[in-house]
């Protein structure tokens, strides 16, 4: 059939630029990363075949496990926090109020700021000696916190910055979701006398499930990739207490020049994120099927 062939031809033509850049700059580098992970490689000179040796070394590498745990803790706290606050902002700013557009825009401002600039801003805020953070704590009669010397406090500071930058995106996506809920459903609920919390619990929240799903998947993926803020704010420290998997892979690859080892950490990271995404996809399909 000529029609089918013309359509396929147009499809190939229109996708070829994308396929070219994705092949050269994504698919090949991903395949090469796996290939490097089976070698000892300093970034230049010869590669030495190691088989699965890098992966075995990782299994006994305490820093790797620390980085994995840090990444898990960070994700488990920052993802629900920024999604919940984003939902709160969306619910607050969904219905009309004075200056609603301005307020929405201001909530979104931290999203458009570069991670480096955000890091610098909070570097100043969390300065243990002269930062306004500790100054406010003291004035409120609370003890000062050593944001850079205490591992848990450093983790809190990283979570604070990423949440600050994440609320706006959650809000915008939830606003889109809320606009997709037909008015009639709320009107019908009003007839049945559902209002306030009950209305949220029985109508809004379930109908926002696809939105929440998208945000959870997207936020987990991005939280496994957080780098810029950490690079500026804590440098992964004190010690390794805010070293995440990407920081560790970067450090091994570009500072220690163990690029094969870094590639192996990267492959593990990739498999974890892929597995998490597939599990969420399955859970969603099962839930949709049971409805």
């Amino acid at each position: 059939m000529a029609g089918r062939r013309a359509e396929a031809w147009a499809g190939v033509v229109l996708t070829s630029p994308a396929l070219l850049v994705f092949t050269v700059f994504m698919f090949v580098p991903i395949a090469l990363t796996f290939w490097y992970s089976l070698h000892r490689y300093s970034g230049f000179g010869r590669m030495r075949w190691l088989g699965l040796e890098n992966y075995r070394t990782i299994a006994d590498d305490p820093t790797f496990w620390t980085a994995l745990r840090n990444t898990a803790v960070f994700t488990a706290v920052s993802v629900p926090l920024s999604i919940a606050l984003g939902l709160g902002a969306a619910l607050l700013l969904n219905r009309w109020m004075p200056a609603r557009g301005l307020l929405r825009a201001l909530v979104y401002v931290p999203v458009v700021i570069s991670g480096v600039a955000a890091g610098v801003i909070f570097l100043r805020l969390f300065d243990p000696v002269t930062g306004i953070g500790n100054q406010l704590l003291t004035q409120a009669g609370l003890p000062e916190i050593n944001w850079q010397g205490n591992g848990a406090a450093a983790m809190v500071s990283v979570i604070a910055v990423t949440t600050w930058q994440g609320i706006g995106f959650g809000m915008v996506v939830y606003l889109a979701g809320l606009q997709g809920i037909p008015r009639e459903i709320y009107e019908a609920a009003a007839v049945d006398g559902a209002a306030g919390w009950r209305r949220f619990r029985r109508i809004t929240w379930p109908l926002l499930a696809p939105t929440t799903f998208f945000l959870v998947v997207y936020s987990i993926i991005t939280s496994f990739q957080v780098f810029d803020v950490v690079y500026v704010l804590t440098r992964g420290g004190p010690g390794t207490s805010t070293t995440f998997l990407v920081q560790y892979a970067y450090d091994q690859g570009f500072n220690q020049r163990r690029q094969g080892y870094a590639a192996a950490i990267g492959m593990i990271l990739y498999v974890i994120v892929l597995a998490l995404t597939i599990v969420q996809w399955r859970l969603r399909q099962r839930r949709d099927a049971s409805l």
Binding site: A8, I30, I121, Q225, Y231
Partner: protein, 267 residues
């Protein structure tokens, strides 16, 4: 009830805006003022030279120029690529389509730090180290933009496309003269988001750009952190200047930032 909502919203926004306010407040402070505690909430002195002095010592204007070139070239190329591919993946049937789309989407889950090693090798092999091209080319593969484009095109009714084809237009012409004119909102969203991603990009230019004259603003800013140490006044003044172009773009197009997500069908 509305009053409570307004009060809550205003209070929340004030908290969120405080770090920005504090950046501006510290940016006009002198070193002495910042080391005498407590630091006053409103500036007592206005050291506006913080915004000017660093320009003399560092190639800030070059960094700004590099950032603009990288962002603009990336936006034009990436948006073009993603419009074409997004349409094809949404509306045209061709062999291997769904598998290819899945492969492209799966690259969203690859942190850039993971594949930076081979990408870096590639840039060296292409002789693009320390060049703007070396920053731009590998970032043309932008899966999230392609995803947004496809979502948008899925919402265009097939009947419209069939009508155009009944009039004798080929697939490529239908795309150019029927679909693209309808895609204004999508193009706006893709332009704005791609601009933001490329403007704020840090680790990839950090690796590729080695000479301080070829830095982008985020890389230059990270360089200034080391230079200024605890001299926070000029550091935060420069931070503010580095995000100012992005803030202006946001202020002009904020309608698209905030509503664009809904229009591209992500929810």
């Amino acid at each position: 009830m509305t009053r409570i909502r307004v009060a809550l919203a205003v209070a929340g926004v004030l908290v969120l805006m405080f770090p920005i306010y504090w950046m501006l407040r510290v940016s006009v402070a002198g070193t002495d003022e910042l080391s005498t505690l407590p630091v006053a909430l409103w500036p007592r002195e206005w050291h506006l030279e913080n915004f000017v002095e660093p320009w003399r010592q560092y190639p800030f204007l070059r960094w700004l120029g590099n950032s603009v070139v990288i962002a603009v070239v990336s936006v034009v190329a990436t948006v073009g690529i993603n419009l074409c591919a997004g349409y094809a993946f949404a509306k045209l049937r061709f062999p291997g389509r769904d598998l290819l789309f899945l492969l492209i989407i799966s690259t969203l889950m690859v942190p850039i730090q993971v594949i930076m090693v081979p990408q870096f090798q590639l840039v060296i092999d292409l002789n693009l180290l320390d060049s703007l091209g070396g920053v731009i080319l590998p970032r043309l593969a932008e899966a999230f933009g392609l995803f947004m484009a496809r979502q948008f095109f899925l919402s265009i009714p097939d009947e419209l496309l069939e009508a155009a084809r009944c009039d004798g237009a080929g697939h490529l012409r239908t795309f150019r003269s029927v679909v693209l004119p309808l895609s204004g909102p999508l193009i706006a969203v893709l332009v704005i988001f791609t601009f933001m991603w490329r403007w704020n990009e840090f680790v990839w230019p950090l690796i590729v750009l080695t000479d301080s004259d070829s830095y982008t603003l985020p890389v230059g800013l990270q360089f200034l952190i080391q230079q200024f140490g605890s001299n926070f006044g000029p550091l935060l003044a420069m931070s503010f200047l580095s995000i100012l172009p992005m803030l202006v773009v946001f202020a002009v197009f904020q309608r698209y930032f905030v509503e664009g997500i809904a229009r591209t069908g992500i929810r």
